[in-house]
Symmetry: C2
Subunit: 388 residues, 2 copies
C-alpha cells in the first residue's frame, strides 16, 4: 500500500481567542489545498477529526461545516472521533479511501478549539472521552488516570521522578525551536522537578497545555504524485489501528505496551521496514510517561528502558531515532482532534526536509507516528517514506 | 465492488428509559454478531455511528466504548458523525474498508439514545447538527427549516397539504405492521390534516418522533459469504456519498434534488442497475416532504411528482417500487445515528425475505437506501442485491 502525500498545512499551536473552530479548519485546510496544487473541487472526500466541538464550541457536524467552508461540496464529508486518537483516525480513513481505489484525491483535517471554555470546564469535556458513567463520576479525570499509570511504571521498573524529567527536558529543547509550538522555552531536570504537582507523580512540565490548532493533508493515489516529480515524493506506506482497554484503572502496563506494539508490528510488516529503520518518530505524550511507553511499544527500547534515550541522547536529533522533534504534545500542545494529523504533518516536513532550523533531522527518510486515545483505548500507527 | 452482508441486528425503535446508549449498542451489535455466525474476535474494525451522545448522554468516544462492551478489542474502533447521515456514513466506511482489501470482516453499528432529555432540550441538541452559530441562534431549528423547504415545494409545484398527507398515510399503513416501529397506528388523510401544526405547513403526523434504538451489520469480503451458500446471499454493490449546502435557508429545491440525484447516479453506475430495477427503497423522511424529494432524487418520479405514488399506490408494497415498507422515519422514528444503519438492515431483511408479515415485498431482489443529513448537507446512497 502506497498513498501519496500531495499537500500539508497547519496552524500555529497556541491559545487563539481570535479564531473559531471553523477559522482553524479553513486556515489549515486551505494551506494544504494550496500546497497540494489542487483546487477544492478536486477533493472527493473529506475526513474531519474533531473530538469536542459540542462541549467546547456548542456545535456538531464539524465535517459538514468544514466541507461548506472549505468549498469542497459536493465531496462526501464526515466527522470522526476516537478520543485523543481522533486525528489519526481521520488520517487512517483517508488512507484507506485511497487504498480502496474508489477515490483519487481526498482530504484529512484535524482541528480543535479548546480555549472557548475555562480549563476546569475543558477538563470536564475531555473526561467525557473516557468512561463518563463509572470512572469520571467517581472523580477520575485524564491527569489522575495517567498518573496511576506513571506510578505503576515507576514501581515496576524502578524509574525515579528525576529519570522521567529528562523526557520533558528533551521535548522542551526542541519545542523552544519550533515556531508552531505552544510552549517555547527550554527547561532543566531541576525545573521540571520544581514545577507544580498536577497529579502525583506528574508535574506541570510533564503535562500538555490546552491548545487551539488545526492541521490538514491532501492525499492521492500513488501515480498522481509520481507523475509530479517536482513535488516532494513522500508516501504513507502503512496504517494500523487498534483498540485497547476502555477503563483507566484497568490499564495495566502490559495493555499499555500492547496498544502500540501490536499495530506497530502490523505497520512494519505492511511497509516492509523494521523499528531500526526509523529516522524520526512522533510519539503521543500528552503526559511525559506516555513517551517512554510509546518508545517501548514501537520497539525502540526494551520495556522499562524507554526513558533512557532522553537522558543518554539516543532519542535526540542525532540519536538512533529522533523522537518528538516537534516538541511533542508537551510543548506543541494537544489540540485533541488535531493531534494525530499534526503528528503526520510534522513527520512529513521532516521527510521533505522543510522542518524548522534546529529541529530538522539530517537525511530523514523513514518516519513513524504513534497516536494514543482514551486511557488506553486507541493505538494508531502510520509509517511515511521519502523516495529519491 | 461487492461486499457481503454476513449479519444484521436491530433493537426495537421506541422510547426506552430502561436502556442506556451502551445497552442499545450491545443489543444490536450482539444480534448482528450472532446472526453472522462469527465471534467478536473475528471483527477487525468497528465503525459506530452516533450523533449526540455528548449532548444527550454526557459521554463521548462511543466507538471506543462500543469496542469494549461488544468484546471486539483489539479491533480498531471509531465513532463517525455527519448529522442525520451518520449511520449511513458508518456503513459507507465499513463498505470501503472491505473494498480496500485491507480487512476481511468489519462491523457497523448505529445507535442513539435521545430520550434521556426532555424533547425541548433534545431539539436543542439536534439543532447543533446544523449551523448553530448563525441559523440556530436566530431561531431556526430543524422543523422550522424543513417547513421552509415544504412551503417552497408547495409553491413551486402546486402541491396541496392534502396531497402531501398521503405520504403519512402510506408510512403509517406499513408502520402499523412493523413490530420494530415506534408509532404503530394507521391514519387517514383527514387525521393527518387535523393533527397539530408543528411548523407550518408540517403537521404532527408529518414529523418523526424522538426514538431510542440501535442497529448493526457485519460485513465481509465477497468470497467469505459466497463460501457459505446456506447463508442469505445479500451483497452491497454500491456506496456513494455527497455533501450539499450547510445552511437551511439557502437549501433550494434544486440543491435538495441534487443531494440525492448526483450520488444516486454514481451508485447506479457502480452497481450496474437503473432506477427502474429497484424493488424496495428506504428513503429518509424525518419530515414527510423529504419522501417525495427523495423519490424524485432517486429517479423514481419527475420533479414535483414524487408525492403521487403515495396517493396512486405506485410506491406501496405492490407498486412499481415499494418505498418505506418499514413505516419510514415517520413511524419507525429517527434515532439519529441509527437511522442510516436501520435503513440498511430493513432493506436487507426485504432481500432475505424475512421482513415481518404485511410489509414483505414479494421477490424483492434489488434495494436502495437513501439517507439525508443536516438541512441539505449529506446525501448517502447504498444499493443492495440478492443472489440466487
Amino acid at each position: 500500500m502506497r498513498v501519496g502525500v500531495l499537500g500539508i498545512g497547519k496552524t500555529p499551536h497556541k491559545i487563539q481567542h481570535n479564531k473559531s473552530l471553523r477559522d482553524l479548519i479553513v486556515e489549515a485546510g486551505r494551506t494544504a489545498i494550496s500546497d497540494a496544487g489542487v483546487s477544492p473541487s478536486d477533493i472527493q472526500m473529506l475526513y474531519v477529526g474533531n473530538v469536542g466541538s459540542v462541549g467546547f464550541n456548542y456545535e456538531n457536524s464539524t465535517g459538514l461545516m468544514a466541507a461548506h467552508h472549505l468549498g469542497v461540496v459536493p465531496a462526501g464529508a464526515v466527522r470522526v472521533e476516537a478520543a485523543c486518537g481522533t486525528g489519526a483516525w481521520a488520517l487512517h480513513l483517508g488512507v484507506v479511501a485511497i487504498a480502496s481505489g474508489l477515490y483519487d484525491t481526498v482530504m484529512v483535517v484535524g482541528a480543535e478549539k479548546m480555549n472557548d471554555l475555562a480549563t476546569v470546564e475543558g477538563t470536564s469535556v475531555i473526561a467525557q472521552a473516557a468512561d463518563s458513567k463509572e470512572e469520571y463520576f467517581s472523580g477520575l479525570t485524564f491527569p489522575s488516570g495517567v498518573a496511576l499509570t506513571a506510578r505503576k511504571y515507576m514501581q515496576t521498573y524502578g524509574l525515579t521522578e528525576e529519570d522521567l524529567a529528562h523526557t520533558s527536558v528533551k521535548n522542551h529543547h526542541y519545542g523552544a525551536r519550533n515556531p508552531y509550538a505552544h510552549l517555547r522555552f527550554e527547561c532543566t531536570v531541576e525545573e521540571v522537578m520544581r514545577s507544580a504537582k498536577v497529579a502525583d507523580p506528574l508535574k506541570l512540565y510533564e503535562v500538555c497545555p490546552m491548545t487551539d490548532a488545526g492541521s490538514a493533508l491532501v492525499l492521492c493515489r500513488e501515480e498522481i504524485l509520481k507523475d509530479q516529480p517536482d513535488k516532494p515524493q513522500v508516501y504513507i506506506t502503512a496504517t494500523a489501528m487498534a483498540s485497547g482497554t476502555w477503563y483507566a484503572v484497568s490499564d495495566g502496563l502490559e495493555d499499555a505496551h500492547k496498544l502500540f506494539a501490536e499495530p506497530a508490528a502490523k505497520a512494519y510488516a505492511m511497509a516492509g521496514v523494521s523499528a531500526g529503520d526509523i529516522d524520526v518518530a512522533e510519539i503521543y505524550n500528552s503526559f511525559a510517561i506516555q513517551e517512554p511507553l510509546g518508545i517501548e511499544g514501537l520497539g525502540f527500547a526494551e520495556q522499562g528502558k524507554g526513558w533512557e534515550g532522553a537522558a543518554d541522547g539516543s532519542t535526540w536529533i542525532d540519536g538512533k531515532v529522533a523522537v518528538n522533534l516537534s516538541g511533542g504534545l508537551l510543548c506543541k500542545g494537544h489540540p485533541l482532534g488535531a493531534t494525530g494529523s499534526s503528528q503526520a504533518v510534522d513527520i512529513i516536513e521532516q521527510l521533505r526536509g522543510t522542518a524548522p532550523e534546529g529541529i530538522q533531522r539530517k537525511d530523514a527518510a523513514i518516519g513513524i507516528s504513534a497516536c494514543r486515545g482514551g486511557p488506553g483505548a486507541v493505538g494508531a500507527i502510520h509509517i511515511y517514506q521519502r523516495e529519491g
